[in-house]
């Protein structure tokens, strides 16, 4: 699954979240990456809004079995710590937390449409153009599989014949 690349769609998908604590404010933004992917940017500021440098930030993703650590970063001079998102990562929410005392925490809800699987499988021609792998590496049955089918089928047919002979033994004729 591919992440949408256009700026307009990205703008529609991007959601922001922020949280504040006595010591720091944490702000999460979904932003485009240079290579066409996405990244989560955590911006840490102090109460008046000045960026805080050198604050460790831990990123986690909500999954079916709990919060999964995705990575850690340290804020730069502009108070930013960045987590590049793996392509196609199907996370509904990303959480960031500072290592401050008390920690600041923010949760960013990703658009579920971005994580959804394509409803329609691409056709053979589309897929072949995307991945010109020859041989058996294909999501579709390829002709050599017929040989496998014949071999396995012949073995099971022989088993059937053996069972037939066993019934003849049982019948005594």
């Amino acid at each position: 699954m591919r992440w949408p690349g256009s700026a307009a769609l990205l703008a529609a998908l991007a959601l922001t979240a922020s949280a504040a604590s006595a010591a720091a404010r944490l702000h999460l933004v979904l932003a485009p990456e240079e290579g066409g992917g996405l990244q989560v940017v955590a911006v840490v500021t102090d109460a008046p809004g000045s960026p805080r440098e050198g604050i460790p930030v831990t990123f986690r993703a909500r999954t079916a079995f709990g919060w999964l650590p995705l990575g850690e970063g340290v804020t730069d001079a502009s108070g930013r710590a960045v987590l590049p998102l793996p392509a196609g990562a199907p996370y509904p929410e990303i959480e960031a937390q500072t290592a401050d005392d008390p920690p600041a925490r923010a949760v960013l809800a990703l658009d579920r449409r971005a994580a959804a699987q394509p409803a329609v499988r691409p056709g053979r021609r589309t897929l072949h153009a995307l991945s010109p792998q020859p041989g058996l590496i294909s999501p579709y049955p390829v002709p050599p599989l017929a040989l496998l089918g014949v071999l396995v089928g012949a073995i099971w047919a022989t088993y059937g014949y053996i069972v037939f002979l066993l019934t003849r033994i049982a019948a005594g004729r």
Binding site: P69, I137, P141, V142, I155, L165, I169, G172, R173
Partner: protein, 519 residues
């Protein structure tokens, strides 16, 4: 002739007595095996409740001891079908007392092996998805197909030659427990030994003996493809198929030797299984060991010569890093030493070694104990390990161990020559212990050294250490294998009665066996 018939009847009676309930030793073994299986079931319950997080498996090292068990059991299962089929086709008469043992090994180990991928699944309730949504292009699905086919074929291959014996049991246990009588009546298929029935039986056995050979070879080849079809250091090899098949045959033949020794001792089958059978099986193990050694050498020497940058981490970890002790144990303890134990004691020179004072067992044992003591003392973490002199000794440890071990080996050679069955059994156990660890060394180091560096993962995820849950399930699988084998031997004669009765007396274990085996 009459005396010989009496002898046959005696040994048959002795063999059939093993089908009745055993003594205290039998029940004690049954209890221990049952307890181990129960403990494994508890471990699996924990895994089912809390998920694969209770194991050492993580995203990067996603296969561990479960898949090690899987490959080990499938490998051991080879010998029953292959050895038995090849010896049947080639008319090797000496095989008659041991083929059923070998075939039963196939059955029991396949059952346990087939369970392991299910145990390895975090969500076994999704098993049907593998079939419903599986892709025929995936080696995983080929594996399901081939193992199912092999299990069916080897079950038939075990069952069909048993039919005449089951008919004999049906008649013998006519006054026995009803469940036994019913079981034998159903399985005997109304066998009366008529000409027509014998003709059909021979036809089925002939077909199965030929059919099972390519199936058995293909199964372990497909198992190897699960690894070799991926682009990973250590697995990206063109010889994985024959490498796995030869390793499977080697460990399987050794498992048969262990089973022969166990049943000979427990059921007093000395009339059936003689020293000559151990010698002949020993030759088979040696030959298979040399073939396996040849493939192993190729498998490691070729990449080690090149030391390509992307494989260097993996190769270093195996040869001299974290996995080196296991790797060298599998090569020395699981391959070289067993082959040496089966060959060297037969040399005439060995008789003279016993007369050399330094080569008596006592001094060699003392030297080995001293070397092992030094290893313990110099081990990191011991109280004296920090002393500078001890640290200087550490590089010498492999040489000391090697020298002491070689000394002990030479000193024990006369003992091995005097006790060939015990020696063959010890060698076969070493082969199987080495075979299990070899599968571990094939799987885990590769997963810990992927081509793309492990990133954005907690440090602990990059390495694999099995947890108590995995060890419990592994112990249960091994115990389950022995348990199935044991219960099988209590239901059916572990030596084929009708085949050994029909064979020349020499070949069926009794009488002038050496003459028959020399042919």
């Amino acid at each position: 002739m009459r005396a010989r018939d009496d002898l046959l009847a005696d040994r048959e009676r002795r063999l059939l007595r093993s089908l009745h309930a055993g003594g205290p030793g039998y029940y004690a073994l049954l209890g221990v095996l049952g307890a181990l299986v129960a403990w494994g079931v508890i471990g699996y319950g924990v895994q089912l409740r809390y998920g694969l997080g209770v194991t050492g498996l993580r995203d990067n090292v996603m296969w561990g001891v479960y898949i090690t068990n899987f490959i080990f059991f499938i490998g051991v299962s080879h010998v029953g079908a292959l050895m038995s089929a090849i010896l049947r086709i080639t008319g090797a008469e000496w095989r008659r007392p041991i083929t059923r043992m070998a075939e039963a090994i196939t059955f029991a180990s396949l059952l346990m092996g087939a369970l392991m991928p299910l145990v390895d699944m975090g969500r076994p309730d999704r098993l049907l998805n593998l079939v419903a949504h599986g892709r025929l292009q995936s080696p995983i699905l080929w594996d399901i197909l081939s193992i199912t086919t092999y299990l069916t074929g080897s079950t038939l291959f075990l069952y069909v030659p048993m039919i005449p014996d089951i008919a004999l049991l049906r008649d013998r246990f006519a006054a026995g427990p009803p469940w036994r009588r019913r079981l034998y009546t159903v399985l005997a298929l109304g066998w009366r030994g008529t000409e027509v029935q014998r003709r059909h039986l021979e036809a089925v056995m002939g077909i199965l003996a030929i059919l099972i050979i390519p199936i058995a070879v293909s199964v372990h080849t497909v198992v190897s493809w699960i690894l070799a079809m991926t682009l990973r250091a250590g697995w990206n090899s063109t010889i994985f198929g024959p490498y796995f098949v030869s390793g499977a045959l080697f460990s399987g033949a050794a498992a048969v030797v262990t089973a022969m020794a166990a049943f000979r001792w427990a059921y007093h089958l000395e009339d059936y299984i003689t020293e000559a059978h151990f010698r002949r099986m020993g030759y088979l193990v040696i030959a298979l060991g040399l073939i396996y050694g040849y493939f192993t050498f190729n498998e490691y020497w070729v990449p080690a010569f090149k030391m390509a940058a992307h494989e260097r981490g993996y190769l270093t970890a195996v040869f001299s890093g974290r996995f080196a002790p296991l790797f060298w144990f599998t090569q020395v303890g699981g391959l070289l030493l067993p082959v040496a134990l089966l060959t060297v004691p037969r040399l005439a020179l060995v008789e003279r070694l016993g007369r050399v004072p330094l080569l008596r067992p006592a001094p060699a044992l003392a030297a080995t104990a001293a070397a092992v003591g030094l290893v313990v003392v110099a081990a990191p973490g011991s109280p004296v390990a920090a002393l500078p002199d001890v640290g200087a000794l550490r590089p010498l440890i492999p040489w000391l161990l090697g020298t002491a071990g070689s000394w002990l080996f030479l000193a024990l050679l006369p003992v091995c020559r005097a006790r060939p069955i015990a020696t063959a059994t010890a060698a076969s156990v070493l082969v199987n212990v080495g075979a299990w660890w070899k599968r571990y060394v094939i799987i885990v180091p590769t997963l810990q050294h992927p081509f793309l560096p492990i990133q954005r993962a907690p440090a602990g995820w990059a390495t694999y250490t099995p947890t108590w849950v995995e060890w419990s399930i592994t112990s249960a699988a091994l115990a389950g294998f022995v348990l199935i084998y044991l219960l099988f031997s209590k239901l059916f004669p572990i030596v084929s009665l009708w085949e050994t009765r029909e064979a020349p007396p020499e070949a069926s274990g009794g009488g002038e066996v050496a003459h028959a085996l020399a042919r």
